[in-house]
């Protein structure tokens, strides 16, 4: 059995057959907010939103209401005719926060007939008014408390206040959550909250129906109710009033009041409690919102901390400056690199904090990057302190629409890497020396092996007494030849290890190449090799030793010719090039010969490395040394079956 629905409003009945009366809750525009009774008056349905004199066409009502509002006092308007019925009107101002917020118009046909009753009603209305004021006041306080109280505390306070001002025996306040209507606060429960269920389902329950209809529900006798209620023990409770806590269509929860009386609340009270549930909803909504806001801001701050700690954990120095080149970000690695302490540098101009860099004006660079919106890269910059070396990048920072807002400086400390590279280079040099020594030893072992074998043969023959002058002469000649070979090898090595003293002179690369072209003409013709010669007029003058450089190009050209025994094309080109901020003479020699397998490419500059039967393995090694002494570079590209290209780069004379 579900109780009689409290439509708002409901006809008030006190047993008297001929009694007619009603309640009108008005807003300050004197429009009906809620009403009850007056069902006998035709056309009285759907009064909400209409002005009060449309319902009660009494000319003095407006003035009286105005007076009530002004004075904040209850006033009486007697003998007003409404649709043929004579009614007395009690006008009650509802005050909250020291101001009249609503007006209550109580219409009663019995007032005139029975003054005593009127007095009683007046008295009860006064009491009601006091409580309403009290509730409204409480709600006001609660609104202020939202910010400081936790939601749970707030809900407890609401439950307690409702309990206190409505004379209910107990009340529960539940909010809609995923699993059902969850008990948030209660009042007056025996062994609270033992007697209230934690969760009440949405379906098939009294509270669930309130939730669905979004309308208050009054049940005058809960003892006979076999439906599930939200209290475990109904002992001593007779009636129930369940009010949806809602804001518009959205229902947040249900406020349930239990009483030990059949009719614990006057109709006015029910109306007021109903009206107040809207206020409670607003309070809860704002509390939920503020809580959500808090959570969101917490999340944002966690996220911010997270990204801050990411930036801080990156072992690369990161600094950001605004458009005025003032520091807005400075991570831990940047602290280490520059010595600028974070808390201290924020807001400071970058030039006051950033250390002097070798040949880079940080302010100029930042300005250029912000203006040009390009990224600049700086390799191996020396930073003022302790010989620190960094790689640095400056990138423009832009906002969402692409306008420049500053720049980012990224600096990577490569000091250790550079030191390691230097150590490695040293180690390589030693390794190279070792390899070279081994190369020399092996190279000399061959002729010595032959000398040794011939000597042994000679000794055997002499020992056996087989003395054939011709034969002996042959052996000795071989020994002599191989000794000369040893000498040749050693001389080359000596020449190479002792850097011949030379005074650099202006070298005409063009002339050298033309010489070599002429020198190799007979061999090219013999092998049927075509020559493509391409020399720019702007070839820069190189400073160095012309004889040594001639040897370099001769070695390379000879190698190229030997790679094309069956003919092909020899391409020689020389041009001016600008690379790494310097002017260079770049000379390329390309053949269409065998090509060098990838595995051999890195070995071709090693001493004694050769793939030719009659090669010494020293040509490219010597060439490499000469080019190095000229501060130049020699590189090779090659593909088996297609040919090789050697490129020699020599710095132009300043």
């Amino acid at each position: 059995m579900v109780g009689e629905e409290v439509r708002s409003p409901k006809m008030c009945r006190r047993g008297e057959k001929d009694w007619i009366g009603g309640l009108f809750l008005l807003d300050m525009d004197l429009k009906v907010v809620a009403w009850s009774g007056l069902e006998s008056i035709p056309g009285s349905e759907g009064l909400e939103g209409r002005e009060i004199w449309e319902v009660i066409p009494e000319s003095s009502l407006g003035d009286k209401l105005e007076e009530t509002r002004r004075t904040g006092r209850i006033s009486l308007l007697e003998g007003v005719e409404v649709e043929g019925e004579m009614l007395d009107l009690v006008l009650v101002p509802l005050i909250a926060g020291g101001e009249v917020r609503n007006l209550l118009v109580i219409a009663d046909s019995l007032l005139i007939k029975d003054r005593v009753m009127a007095e009683e009603l007046l008295e009860s209305t006064r009491r009601l008014k006091d409580r309403i004021v009290e509730i409204a006041h409480l709600m006001d306080i609660m609104k202020h408390l939202i910010a400081t109280y936790s939601l749970d505390d707030l809900l407890s306070a609401i439950a307690k206040s409702i309990g206190a001002v409505t004379r209910c025996k107990a009340c529960t306040l539940r909010l809609v959550e995923k699993e059902g209507l969850v008990l948030k606060a209660s009042f007056g429960m025996k062994g609270d909250p033992l007697y209230a269920k934690d969760v009440v389902g949405f379906e098939e329950t009294v509270l669930g129906s309130v939730l669905r209809t979004n309308k208050p529900l009054f049940i005058d006798d809960i003892s006979s109710l076999d439906d599930e209620l939200d209290v475990v023990d109904r002992d001593g409770m007779r009636s129930l009033l369940a009010i949806p806590i809602s804001s518009g269509e959205e229902v947040f929860g249900v406020l349930t009041l239990y009483s030990d009386a059949d009719e614990p609340y006057s109709d006015g009270e029910i109306s007021i409690i109903s009206a107040l549930s809207g206020e409670i909803a607003v309070v809860i909504q704002s509390a939920l919102l503020s809580r959500e806001l808090e959570r969101a801001s917490e999340e944002i701050s966690i996220l911010r901390n997270y990204s801050e700690s990411i930036i801080d954990s990156i072992p690369v120095g990161i600094a950001a400056v605004d458009i005025g080149l003032r520091i807005v970000k400075w991570n831990a690695a940047m602290e280490r690199i520059t010595g600028g302490v974070r808390g201290f540098v924020f807001g400071m101009p970058i030039e006051d904090v950033f250390p002097r860099l070798d040949g880079v004006d940080i302010v100029e660079e930042l300005k250029a990057v912000i203006e040009g919106a390009c990224i600049r890269e700086y390799q191996r910059l020396e930073v003022g302190r302790d010989g620190m070396v960094v790689n640095m990048w400056i990138c423009p920072l832009k906002d969402k629409i692409g306008d420049p807002i500053g720049a980012l400086i990224i600096a990577e400390d490569i000091t250790e890497r550079v030191a390691l590279e230097n150590r490695l280079r040293k180690a390589e040099r030693f390794l190279y020396l070792g390899e070279m020594a081994a190369g020399i030893a092996h190279e000399i072992n061959n002729p010595i092996g032959i000398i040794s074998a011939y000597s042994q043969m000679l000794l055997r023959k002499l020992g056996k007494g087989q003395v054939d002058i011709e034969e002996i002469a042959k052996y000795v000649r071989k020994i002599d030849e191989e000794t000369a070979r040893c000498g040749g090898i050693l001389r080359t090595i000596l020449n190479m290890s002792k850097p011949s003293e030379w005074r650099p002179v202006d070298v005409d690369i063009r002339g050298i190449i033309l010489d070599i072209v002429q020198l190799t003409e007979p061999q090219r013709n013999q092998q049927g090799i075509r020559l493509l010669l391409e020399m720019g007029d702007e070839l820069p003058v190189v400073s160095g030793d012309p004889q040594q450089l001639k040897q370099v190009f001769l070695n390379i050209v000879m190698n190229a010719l030997q790679a094309m025994p069956n003919g092909g094309t020899l391409s020689i080109s020389a041009e001016r090039r600008k690379e790494s901020g310097r002017e260079w003479a770049a000379i390329s020699v390309a053949d269409t010969g065998y090509g060098i397998p990838e595995k051999d490419i890195r070995r071709i500059f090693e001493p004694f490395y050769t793939t030719r039967k009659d090669g010494s393995g020293l040509g490219l090694f010597v060439s490499y040394g000469i080019v190095q002494r000229h501060d130049g570079d020699i590189t090779v590209e090659s593909k088996v079956g297609e040919g090789s290209r050697f490129t020699v780069k020599l710095p132009a004379k300043d």
Partner: protein, 148 residues
Amino acid sequence: MGRAAGSPSSCPLRIRGGKGMGYRVLVVDDEEEVVEILAEFLMEEGFEVVGSRSAEEALAIFRKDDVDLVVTDVRMPGIDGVEMAKEMRERKPDIPIIFISAYVDFSELKGMIEGSFSFFHKPFDLSDILEEVRRYLFRGGEGICWKG
């Protein structure tokens, strides 16, 4: 600089003779002098000797003729001594092989080739080589040997 290149037409050095023991030794080295002197020496000791200045050529000879023992250089242009020896072993798994080298160490060779072989470092002692050849051919000697 560099060595004078011998003319390829002088190969193979096929020198028969000696005391007719019927053993044929194949000598391989890109240095003509080494082939020449080993051949002369082994022939004087009674072996039939076939000389070659490249592994490619030596393999051709090996496939055609019945060879009892191989003396070879390791590092040569083109196919090197190790590759050559592997191919020969595939054809004739028990062929005795004696390596001679100015560059390579015995330890390097050990990992590169399966089965037994001998190794002499250049410069080598002619009598050591002779002893090794005899050990293989007359006493059925076997095992890894090293003389440096």
